[in-house]
């Protein structure tokens, strides 16, 4: 049995706390089971070098763990003078996913940074970051519209993300840390509300997986993402 009698295709409890912080343009504290990520959006009046001179704005993401977020302390990046390669990979994933549903031209030359800081890590931090980060991005853009800084919300599609994996030969949704550590296969999916795919990242950690297994995981994920999108809409 899974912890808390969870079913194989069941999400952990999900909560979105809006406005946990006072200063960012928008922010969402997303909790999925014990995983807890603070997603803050800030706007700055500049674009990265490759966009200078264009009309385009930009959306980027940064991802980091607090040292106390994990079962054994995670050293800070600055103590090693390099960003953890895993964090680097994850923040690229978050940024790509959010940019792919944003009309960058509609940002009027603003750069939005979505900071995803993991306060507690019990599996699924990257998918929680996307699910919460998208909500914060959407809320931030709504505020920019209200402040007459941009004309309309440039976020074109609603997205969310979830993990799934094969543990002891069985497909499971939304792995917690102890399940993730034992997974044969680990899959992260970012999709729209209607099940179209934004990003797929699947790894056969312990063994290759089959096309049939892939289908099961995608089916599970599609349903869960629709549910996550429904929960996002409840607080929007």
């Amino acid at each position: 049995m899974r912890a808390n009698n969870r079913k194989d295709n069941e999400l952990r409890p999900v909560t979105f706390t809006l406005d946990y912080c006072e200063y960012p343009l928008a922010n969402v504290l997303v909790e999925i089971g014990k995983t807890r990520v603070l997603c803050c959006v800030t706007a700055e009046n500049r674009v990265p070098p490759h966009l200078v001179g264009s009309d385009s704005g930009w959306v980027t993401a940064e991802y980091a763990m607090l040292p106390g977020a994990t079962q054994t302390r995670t050293p800070r990046d600055i103590s090693r003078l390099r960003i953890a390669p895993r964090s680097s990979e994850i923040q690229r994933l978050i940024g790509r996913s959010l940019r792919s549903v944003t009309d960058l031209q509609g940002l009027c030359g603003l750069s939005l940074t979505v900071d995803c800081d993991v306060l507690q890590a019990d599996g699924g931090t990257r998918t929680a970051s996307i699910t919460g980060g998208w909500l914060a991005l959407w809320l931030g853009c709504e505020k920019l519209v209200k402040q007459n800084i941009i004309v309309k919300n440039p976020v074109k599609e609603q997205i969310a993300a979830v993990s799934a994996g094969i543990v002891d030969g069985k497909p499971l949704l939304d792995l917690d840390y102890s399940e993730d550590s034992n997974a044969e296969t680990d899959f992260n999916m970012v999709m729209t509300n209607t099940g179209r795919i934004i990003e797929l990242q699947g790894t056969g950690e312990k063994r290759p997986f089959t096309r049939d297994e892939l289908t099961s995981l995608l089916d599970m994920g599609t349903k869960a993402i629709a549910e996550l999108c429904r929960l996002q809409r409840e607080v929007m």
Copy 2:
């Protein structure tokens, strides 16, 4: 008038949330007004190079801001490949203060790291870090005693910290960010429960200050620290 009709020598509301996180040895979320710092203690079975071969343990602190903690986004240290000099100064202050009341010999060769991560910064983050960090350190040592890892709690004295300053010629306790930005003089005090001094750091930001002004600030601080110690004891 100060915000919320606060008196000149009045602390902002203080709350200590114990066990906000699940994984660290001990942790305290300290909130003083809008300032919010998560203090996590972890123990590791090693000592810094200068203590290898001795019987001594060690206590150290790290301090950082989340990017969204401030009114304009604070870039991460890793993006500049160096720790912010202000953070470096503050974490040295926290570490010195905590070590000065700990019997390092009593730690049986353990290193305790007190991570102070600022979730929201509205003035007084360094003193909140010490006040919350001391509580987390004491709680962590209590757990180590219960787990029979150390014989008795090596924290010898109760301490807390508070800021005070002179704003428009008037001594004020526990400055918030808008007061701190206008302070002529900025003072941070770390004291024991009984008013003996652990650390003093005072700066005449806009003008030199007099011995009389120093006396006012110290008197204010002594009382406030006794109050903070009382609040700590309520949750110990």
Copy 3:
């Protein structure tokens, strides 16, 4: 029409040059169209910290571009004091893929490093690195067996990798740089000889993609990987 009259599901010409270099344990210069990657394997008698004390060996990969490999010069990582995030992501992918088909216990405590240096980049450098890197790894292990350093070749499965994408609404195999720049969807697949999946990484760069499109890309990739494995076997 694609360059050189290539069909939608056709690989570019593939060549593997063995022993391009004299000093590494094994090396393969893989060329796929104009993309050219030098894959060198070296063995060292140490393991990373998390394996010290275990019987396990290790396989890791490093990936980098020569400055002159791209249409505009790519600055060296050292000039920015950080590894390019894209390179960091790619070398994690190569390492994971190769480890997933290697019996690390069978390496007798050796660490094998697979260096993938891109001499010329015309799309598909990460998949070429895996296809060539796997071959170099297998050849290196064969040498270690012949030198009686390990008992049997610990590489358990044959793998290769290929990219595919949707360009102007059409699924295309093995994108070159000009196709990749215009792709709506970009997909990298690592599979075994028999079509079981090791790694999937798909991105809807310009728009979300559908489950049907995913199926087309996977079908294309499966056939191409079987062909790449056949070509690997010709030189093994």
Copy 4:
């Protein structure tokens, strides 16, 4: 007895050598006992980012030890790729102290850097840096006035600094290294000629200290700083 029969409230011999170097705008080699710090002031026609667009100039300080300045060799910062946290703290203290008595508007957009390089360290290097650095700053501004680059000397007050501490229960002025290593309490004071306070930094290294002890140390420091200011004036 203290070394050289020094009295408890007696300064070590102090010398200021002006123009030890030929190239900086101004420079002072300050020697206090065996402690020897070279303070060089240079002017540059730029301001830090937060002042661009304002009329303000800037004053900053850098502090470093030569490797051979200490009893055991001090590794260079560059060999560890980070500034020593102690140096970072000290150079912030020097910079704050000097800025607090300078009219930055009067600098006509110039940045003055006060480099304090410790040639020999026998205790009190930070206070010697402030005492000598202030003198070099004042001399540099005089030259700028003579060169008609600024209208009048923007340094508004004369300051100096000294350390004091409690060793074996006794308050001592101007600790040398061997005294400092055994101090129960370590105190650094920056004051004006007339005893108003610029910066206080006190640490109960081995035990908390009392308000009475604080008073003794401040009294000692006030007199010594007046004497240091007198010595500065002799060479101005």
Copy 5:
């Protein structure tokens, strides 16, 4: 006897492969014995800070080893966060040599970077880099002339470089790695076609050397450099 019956004053076989790569402005793969260096030239429309505002262009060089180029793997610079001091020294030598024969005014504000990447290192990589790098620089400038970007080729003199050394008391030309490791004296010479000297770098690794020995090495080098220049002209 030397490897391959080589005479004391005989060069190893030299080949220049032009246009090994497709994207740089010009490139030469130079092979001298087993030593193999890829020299790529790229042009950028900017100059270093000290030339901004002048009419001058710039020529610079970068030098690096691939990890698999040496008998034991060479770690990448980025893994240590600093350029290998030997590489730093070598790229300064290459840059100085090439600049000394280039009319920087004639570059119309362009910066040319000559990247020398060592694919295989069997002694003499720095001199091969200069010999191949000069050829690539000349070819690149010819292309700029043809593209009407600059008026005439600004490379004023033909240069090449060679090493020589004293091994077992005997002067030898063009040392390979095993000879270099045993050399008493190691000498690198950069000269023009007619034997005038651009750079000399000689080291008495194991013992001082005499003026007579210097004369022998210079005589050997002069002849060899004339021969290398002849070979360059064959492919120009």
Copy 6:
């Protein structure tokens, strides 16, 4: 005419101040004209990784400029997170020169570091560092012999260094900064007392130089180095 009526082949005034500092094993403040370098030797009981397990000791050098040593302020290496390439090249030269005349086996596993810190730079800092560094090394080894840490002084030969160059077509000895900036050719020589060569580094900065010019410069340098060795012996 040269400054101070100096003849073409005349050294600037040279002084060696022994024991300028109190803490290093040995130290020499060398002044040559206005150039002033502090050379400190320290011994540590460890060897670099490549010598662990051998009987050999080690000699290394570090070279740096104080910010105020030059006509315009030199930024500290740590502010750019990399050692200045010129400093890196110079400290390798100093280290190689000193090692080449030291019997490393005779150092009983000690590492000696020769820190050369330039207090004032008026040309010839690298040669002054070698001339002064050798003296400090020899003095340090004498002390180690007296302390019975090593059996006999392992420094086998006396060496010194000097620069020479061609300015306006005329060979000049010991260039100061203004001469060096205008030199057509810049030459640094390290030789033994008897004129045998340890290191040569010559650069045709503005034009190639001839063998005859090389001969003039070497002749000049040989005499000057004999004179410098004589001056060293006066204080040994």
